[in-house]
């Protein structure tokens, strides 16, 4: 990995409507060439706004961002030569085939017909849709439709691909199909900027990620680095009424279940033994990205607050 594919500096966006909304409050992010970088955040965090600014669809209110050295504010045309975008919640044209998506979008990039055909073939192979290339989108499953749209950005041969929640609404199998295609692309040298609110997705596919909340970057780094931002390394999930919860500092209550966060594996095993003695069901595991995310964005229900 080398140099920045995307670099935003103090990027700000204010929407002036009936009420003023500050969607981005000075976001500074560096995305390296050849990595899959994820913006992870709750709904309304500012992820889509960031992606729309970086992809030259929306002007920022302040700050700037560079894509492969070109300013998205002043050099939008140059930026557009290097990027391809899949918007959020995008549907397919029912009468289109995956091959038409891949081929015509390549043609719009200025490719000659023969080159566009070649790129379309490659793109369909990358998303495993060769067998369905001539089926209309209305006959495809949700995951296949999404992969057809992804094929349209792949055939463009753009250096930086931007995908806004590409797997939202897909089942687990379809999601993995998309993830597999994305990781193949990264392996082939593409840079991918992805947004998601799904922790598993962020953890599974990202080389690095930034947690965004209320228009600011809360944390940035590799998934393991992000998980290292909290002191607790293990968690014990207890089902039932565990009386000694108050003796633990970090506890999240989820109805009749409790998640206790602990610093060491020994502490986790001791707690597990204690709960088993009380005939309660419990299990332990390392903390997940979701645990860290919830803590960083301030959503943890500490028992002291209840």
């Amino acid at each position: 990995m080398e140099a920045d594919a995307v670099k935003s500096v103090d990027l700000r966006k204010v929407y002036h409507g009936k009420e003023m909304v500050e969607a981005l409050k000075g976001v500074s992010i560096d995305v390296n060439k050849g990595e899959l970088f994820t913006l992870l955040g709750p709904n309304g965090a500012g992820k889509t706004t960031f992606l729309r600014i970086i992809s030259t669809q929306l002007l920022p209110s302040g700050g700037d961002a560079m894509v492969l050295g070109h300013s998205v504010v002043r050099e939008a045309e140059e930026v557009r030569e290097h990027i391809a975008v899949v918007p959020q919640d995008v549907a397919t044209y029912n009468n289109f085939t995956p091959w038409e998506y891949a081929y015509y979008f390549a043609r719009l990039r200025g490719m000659a017909s023969s080159e566009a055909k070649h790129k379309a073939e490659q793109a369909l192979r990358a998303v495993d849709l060769c067998g369905l290339r001539n089926r209309t989108c209305q006959t495809l499953s949700g995951g296949e439709k999404r992969r057809a749209i992804i094929a349209s950005v792949l055939s463009s041969d753009a250096d930086v691909l931007m995908l806004d929640e590409p797997t939202s609404g897909l089942d687990a199998v379809a999601r993995r199909g998309v993830w597999s295609a994305l990781r193949e692309l990264v392996r082939s040298g593409k840079t991918i900027l992805l947004t998601t609110h799904m922790m598993e997705e962020a953890e599974m596919v990202s080389d690095r990620l930034a947690i965004v909340n209320k228009g600011t970057v809360v944390a940035c780094g590799r998934p393991d680095e992000i998980k290292g931002l909290v002191k607790e390394r293990f968690r014990v999930v207890i089902s039932g009424d565990f009386k000694q919860l108050s003796s633990f500092a970090e506890v999240a209550k989820l109805g009749d279940r409790s998640i206790v966060y602990l610093k060491t594996q020994d502490e986790a095993i001791d707690l597990l033994k204690a709960t088993l003695k009380m005939n309660l069901r419990a299990e332990t595991s390392p903390v997940t990205l979701e645990d860290v995310f919830v803590k960083l964005v301030g959503g943890l229900n500490n028992h002291e607050n209840q």
Partner: protein
């Protein structure tokens, strides 16, 4: 951006927006033809001979291209809420003019079989000759341009409106511009109010075509004024659209 790239992209976008529908949903062509042909059918049923069929065929041709024009912008706004092709294309090296022209051309491409059908009947009846054909084509193009720019203007100013509102609006516009003014019937029937037909692009063009075919006596001056009004209307819609529309949001 090179002119050749702008033209090529325009054609590709028009193709994307028309050919797959044409190939896989050919009934769409019948629907398009019927929208314009139904008034003609009733005219034949309830009128008594004369040149009614030719007046009706002129109306059907003007109606076909006008619907294509006014629907393109409005339909695109509605469609794009789901397929988001525009969002994808904004982030590509494609000129905004290519996109606008492409989506305006697409329904016109779909209208060509209908126009050929009506034109063939007119030719069979002896009203469409090579000379009138040469005059007819630019007249249909200008009304398509005027109605397309009007559709874009409306969709630009109402881009946040609901789908239901946009669909209703396109139907109301169809009635207001195609079925009420003298498009299917001669403006001579309006008597002293016939001047109204000049200010409405659809009836203006229908009048021009009637004069080319010898169905409406118009002086050269009147023809020039009609063309000037059409061109100015189109330019006014373009200016109003460009004042409001933004390829890139801010």
């Amino acid at each position: 951006m090179r002119i050749s790239k702008i033209v090529e992209d325009t054609l590709i976008i028009a193709w994307i927006k028309s050919y797959p529908n044409f190939r896989r949903n050919p009934l769409l062509l019948l629907v398009l033809a019927m929208v314009s042909a139904i008034p003609l059918f009733f005219m034949l049923m309830f009128s008594s001979g004369g040149n009614v069929i030719v007046h009706g065929l002129i109306g059907a041709m003007v109606s076909t291209v006008s619907f294509a024009g006014v629907l393109s912008g409005i339909q695109d706004i509605a469609d794009d809420r789901y397929v988001k092709i525009r969002e994808m294309i904004v982030a590509m090296p494609v000129h905004p003019a290519s996109y606008a022209l492409g989506i305006a051309l697409a329904p016109l491409v779909l209208s060509i079989p209908t126009l050929i059908f009506f034109g063939a009947i007119m030719a069979y009846l002896g009203f469409l000759t090579l000379e009138t054909f040469v005059l007819l084509v630019p007249a249909l193009i200008i009304v398509w341009a005027a109605m397309s720019t009007m559709g874009f203007m409306i969709s630009t100013y109402l881009w946040k409106s609901s789908m239901i509102m946009l669909n209703n609006l396109s139907n109301v516009l169809g009635i207001a511009f195609i079925f009420i003014p003298p498009v299917y019937f001669s403006e001579a029937q309006l008597g002293s109010l016939s001047w109204i037909s000049v200010i409405i692009p659809t009836s203006n063009v229908a009048g021009l075509i009637r004069s080319y075919m010898g169905l409406l006596p118009l002086s050269i001056d009147a023809i020039v004024v009609r063309w000037a009004v059409l061109v100015m209307t189109t330019i006014a819609f373009i200016v109003l659209t460009s004042m409001k529309s933004k390829w890139r949001e801010n």
